[in-house]
């Protein structure tokens, strides 16, 4: 980024800025001479920003590239092309120690609280590990900090010597959150943090995430497939389909005036807990499945399932992702 904005105040400048982000996973044939025969285009050209203190919701069906996006922002996958700016720093150019130092400021909360905690480590070991790795605290100091973190996420600090299997799913997710908070990060990628939890526990974790955001001024990328949860927690919401963002707007706008046919179909597919409303609802049922990201359809990538597809949608170029007014971005020929 240019130097003028570098020293500007944090309100104006986005915390995260993603430009033309692409993540391709190569498909190879052969054992010794691995010929490159194609790519899984998991993320295929994303542009968006996340403001400081904001929650950006990222929704889409499985395989649309939302988790890959989260990981590519944190450089857990190195992007095939494009840039990810954290403040002024382009993370895609960093390596080794410089990248490791930036990692302190960005953390991740994982979906599966059973798989993301090492069963052989105690809670103290799990939550304290980042402190040790980054040389922030050890010994008694570390122990105190871990106990404080446990208290912050609503766990009993005396649990410090227990193992993950002694906790329920919701409590484990709290441990994962404590670990993410250990280094006082600015930015946290929450990758489906509640999908593995029981309904009654989900609300506890959502409330906790909201409290922590307020308390520590955190910025979230909240990845989920549950549209009602995303509406609750997000300030702005991006809808992904087959590696691209098809619509991005603030929460109220997106849910009340969805412009993209895919967003409309997604919203209409969400069941509402009221039999009378359900009886009267007109569902948009999408035909078929999501096409393969190895070879996405030409033209608009949604045209194969779109109930409103026109001739122009089947031809290149793809509809452009641009502002339809008031920061409501959409990529659809029907709108532009």
């Amino acid at each position: 980024m240019n130097a003028q904005r570098a020293n500007g105040n944090g309100r104006e400048q986005p915390l995260i800025r993603v430009e033309g982000l692409r993540v391709y996973f190569p498909i190879t044939r052969g054992i010794i001479f691995q010929r490159h025969v194609g790519d899984v285009k998991a993320v295929d050209g994303l542009d968006f920003e996340i403001k400081r203190g904001e929650t950006l919701g990222l929704v889409g069906e499985s395989g649309c590239g939302k988790s890959t996006t989260g990981r590519a922002i944190l450089q857990l996958y190195r992007p095939t092309s494009g840039h990810v700016y954290f403040g002024d720093v382009d993370l895609t150019t960093l390596k080794g120690e410089a990248l490791r130092r930036m990692r302190r400021r960005m953390q991740m909360i994982f979906q599966d609280p059973y798989a993301s905690l090492n069963p052989r480590m105690t809670v103290g070991g799990i939550v304290g590990e980042p402190l040790e790795v980054h040389g922030i605290a050890k010994g008694k100091e570390k122990r105190e900090r871990v106990q404080e973190l446990l208290r912050v996420v609503g766990l009993n600090p005396y649990f410090i010597n227990r193992y993950p299997h002694e906790f329920s799913g919701g409590q484990r997710q709290r441990i994962g959150i404590a670990r993410a908070l250990a280094l006082n990060p600015d930015f946290i990628v929450c990758d489906e943090p509640i999908s593995a939890l029981d309904v009654s526990i989900q609300a506890q974790i959502i409330n906790l995430l909201e409290d922590l955001q307020e308390q520590f001024g955190l910025t979230y990328l909240f990845i989920a497939h549950d549209l009602s949860v995303v509406r609750h927690i997000s300030d702005r919401v991006a809808v992904m389909y087959l590696g691209k963002i098809v619509e991005l707007a603030n929460r109220v706008e997106l849910y009340e005036h969805p412009l993209h046919p895919y967003t409309q179909a997604l919203l209409s597919a969400v069941p509402i807990p009221d039999p009378e409303i359900e009886a009267q609802r007109q569902r948009i049922i999408l035909e078929g499945d999501v096409p393969s990201p190895t070879n996405p359809p030409r033209g608009c990538r949604f045209h194969t399932r779109c109930p409103l597809a026109m001739d122009v949608c089947r031809e290149d170029p793809e509809p452009e992702f641009k502002d339809a007014g008031g920061g409501h971005y959409v990529a659809c020929h029907l709108v532009h």
């Binding site: 919701g170 309904v199 526990i201 506890q204 549209l227 997604l266 209409s268 807990p273 039999p275 049922i285």
Partner: protein, 281 residues
């Protein structure tokens, strides 16, 4: 409507090293012909063990149905022998599971898996069975069924696999279809497809359905009656409209309040059910 299934005071326990798990603890409910019953509950509430008990598919040991009656089409399923039970299973009642990948056999083609039941239960020869299998696949909306029938499960997407499972469940025209979280592993748009499909098939075939889920909102447009389970017991049972409009049990009320809803104004704060469900042993 005639009574199809009557479960009375069912008790299923698991005898483990850590003690006796009271998974199902005196559960009673019924299903009428052609009716859709929703069972809602969280993990560990005993909803899956309940229907596995009805199918007599509880692994034993360590599991055991310790008391109760399961009257299906006038017979107590707990009193008939394994031979007769096999006639009931697959033929009179069928079950579809949550994860269509693990419940299909990966080394058999779709044809082999569907025709097995047809040849076994209905005594069809192979040619008849194959024709019927293609018919079933078409009925559940699988495009190019004539070709796809020779594919293996891994060549199908999650939603398509669940359609295959449903086709297998319907193969012998069962009177009761038990669906154990059949859409939990699927995306919302695919879930909507499957729910529409099951509703259409139900109306065409006229079978009864038990639909198990943890998602109370899903049942609103699907079930005639709903029972709510918690810690191995039925805590509330009512007509679908009453459950949503006038929930009585604090747990049901808690469940309804803890989920954000798309049709309501966004609430500032969600109201969770505090604490953790107690263990059943």
């Amino acid at each position: 409507m005639a009574r199809l299934l009557d479960v009375r005071d069912l008790e299923t326990r698991f005898y483990t090293q850590d003690g006796i798990v009271h998974a199902v603890n005196g559960v009673s409910f019924h299903v009428d012909e052609g009716e859709t019953l929703g069972i809602v509950g969280e993990s560990g509430s005993g909803k899956s063990v309940t229907v596995l008990s009805i199918m007599r598919l509880i692994p034993s040991p360590p599991g055991k149905i310790t008391s109760g009656e399961i009257i299906f089409e006038g017979r107590d399923l707990l009193k008939i022998d394994e031979e007769e039970m096999r006639e009931v299973r697959g033929n009179r009642m069928a079950m579809i599971f949550q994860d269509p990948m693990t419940s299909l056999n990966p080394v058999l083609t779709i044809e082999q898996q569907i025709t097995e039941a047809l040849e076994l239960h209905l005594g069809m020869n192979h040619q008849q069975a194959r024709r019927r299998a293609i018919e079933l696949l078409k009925m559940v909306g699988i495009p190019a069924a004539e070709q796809r029938i020779d594919n293996y499960p891994h060549q199908f997407s999650g939603g398509m696999r669940q359609r295959v499972m449903i086709a297998m469940g319907l193969a012998c025209n069962p009177r009761l279809l038990i669906a154990d979280e059949p859409t939990t592993a699927l995306d919302v748009t695919i879930q909507a497809q499957i729910v529409e499909l099951v509703k259409r098939l139900r109306d065409e075939i006229g079978m009864a359905i038990i639909w198990i889920t943890h998602d109370l909102s899903l049942l609103a447009g699907l079930a005639d009656r709903i029972i709510v389970m918690y810690a191995g017991q039925v805590v509330e049972s009512a007509q679908t409209a009453d459950i949503y409009r006038n929930p009585r049990h604090p747990y049901t009320i808690g469940l309804l309040q803890s989920i954000p809803r798309l049709d309501e104004k966004r609430r500032e704060r969600l109201e969770p059910i505090e604490g953790v469900a107690p263990r059943s042993h």
